[in-house]
């Protein structure tokens, strides 16, 4: 299985019926494809919509209905459109249950860096700082390393997105939960050992006696959004 698919499938298991969920541009957007059957969540796009639906077929798209990346998207019956203040009021005000974001680095304090590499890449924070500060749960979905270099570090050396401790990091190797005590290794991916995860991680990992394997169904049908 492609590692990005694996990450997206594992993230999808975190979403619960009734959640309002915001998916970041890129890998996080693909999470919607892997929602388990019967899980009924509602997606927000920070450019101003609740009720995102899969991209309609050509001929059924509307230029005024796009996701936060500017790409075409659909809307479910019962969708709601609003302005940017309202969109971020929902995010900052604690009305958003879950956000899934990409990451450049996560550290032992559970802090995320994901918006710039000084002098090299300056995409800007967009909505990320508000999302990480305001969402009830923040899930970071990212590859475990960048060309072999660890991204889960003792301390982030890139500019932080927020000082708020995120809720969970999900990579193609592991599920890691930042806690008061530090980073706890919660799960490993199928075929990956605890030792391999530890070796690919700069940060100290707290390893419980029992580390289960991710409950990823390999043949799940691809459904829903995007």
């Amino acid at each position: 299985m492609d590692e990005k698919v694996l990450i997206a499938k594992r993230v999808a298991l975190e979403l619960q019926s009734g959640n309002l969920v915001n998916l970041g541009i890129g890998l996080p957007t693909t999470v919607a494809r892997y929602l388990p059957a019967g899980v009924d969540v509602c997606f927000q796009s920070e450019n101003g919509l609740i009720g995102l639906a899969p991209v309609p077929a050509k001929g059924y798209r509307n230029e005024n209905l796009t996701d936060a990346g500017g790409g075409p998207v659909g809307a479910l019956p019962g969708a709601a459109a609003f302005d940017s203040c309202m969109s971020f009021g929902l995010i900052r005000g604690g009305h958003l249950d879950v956000t899934v974001l990409g990451g450049l680095q996560v550290d032992e304090l559970g802090q995320l860096a994901n918006w710039m590499v000084p002098g090299k890449m300056v995409p800007g924070m967009g909505g990320a700082m508000d999302l990480v500060t305001g969402a009830r749960r923040v899930i970071v979905a990212m590859t475990h390393t960048a060309k072999g270099a660890p991204k889960i570090l003792k301390r982030c050396n890139l500019p932080l997105t927020s000082v708020r401790r995120i809720s969970l990091v999900i990579t193609e190797m592991a599920v890691i939960e930042p806690t008061d005590d530090g980073l706890v290794l919660r799960e490993v991916a199928p075929g990956v050992t605890v030792e391999q995860v530890v070796a690919a991680t700069e940060a100290t990992l707290i390893v419980p006696a029992n580390v289960p394997v991710m409950a990823i169904a390999v043949d799940e049908p691809e459904t829903a959004l995007a």
């Binding site: 005024n64 940017s84 900052r92 909505g127």
Partner: protein, 218 residues
């Protein structure tokens, strides 16, 4: 009632070199495209632009970036426009990056007569550099300053001839907020309908905020 509809050329001529502009839109969706094209055509320079993003190269505000009409940019995300990033890194264009929710509230606070915004977003990050913090009931907030501008350039779906505005789906985004914060507000609607055709409950931007409406092109 006052006649607000005018040509895009006449409206753009109101905007001098060096002006500060709020420009609506999100990745070009909901931007006033004809106004942007006309500013490029008229060769406007040295603009300060406040906008969510600079879209893609060749799209929306990206066109103003391409011709270097913008000397200062206050924005949230330029990740999909490599040329804006290049100009920022090279020091050719001054770029201030602001969290998106903070940008929206800063513009709102300018238009709503408030002294600023107290937000938890950005505390302890680069976004807090040089800014005051205020502790309130044991929590720390950034004090972010209001934004106003000489002009707000608004893309919208429908207007009536008086200037009441409606927006469509995700093309709403920053437009209604910016319409509160521009000294002069120029709206570019897809269509202009007779006064009374928009239900009072469906008006998002009341006409008293709007100075000029761009009429349909030939």
């Amino acid at each position: 009632m006052f006649h607000k509809a005018t040509s895009v050329a006449v409206a753009a001529e109101r905007i001098p070199d060096g002006a500060t502009l709020l420009i609506g839109g999100f990745m070009g969706v909901g931007s006033p495209h004809r106004l942007i094209d006309e500013l490029v055509r008229q060769g406007r320079k040295n603009l300060t632009v406040i906008a969510n993003d600079t879209a893609l190269p060749g799209t929306g505000i990206g066109k103003l970036i391409a011709v270097k009409a913008i000397s200062k940019l206050i924005t949230t995300h330029i990740g999909l426009n490599p040329e804006t990033q290049r100009q920022m890194i090279a020091g050719e264009t001054e770029v201030e990056l602001v969290p998106q929710g903070t940008l929206a509230e800063r513009i709102r606070s300018g238009g709503f007569g408030l002294g600023g915004v107290l937000t938890p977003t950005g505390v302890g990050t680069l976004a807090a550099d040089g800014k005051r913090t205020v502790e309130i009931e044991g929590k720390v907030f950034l004090l972010e300053l209001p934004i106003k501008a000489d002009f707000a350039l608004i893309g919208c779906h429908r207007a009536d001839y008086q200037g009441n505005l409606q927006y469509a789906l995700t093309a709403r985004n920053f437009n209604p907020i910016m319409a509160m914060a521009g000294d002069t507000v120029i709206a570019e609607p897809t269509e202009i309908v007779p006064v009374g055709e928009i239900s009072p409950d469906h008006v998002v931007t009341p006409h008293v905020l709007v100075d000029l409406l761009i009429e349909k092109g030939q």
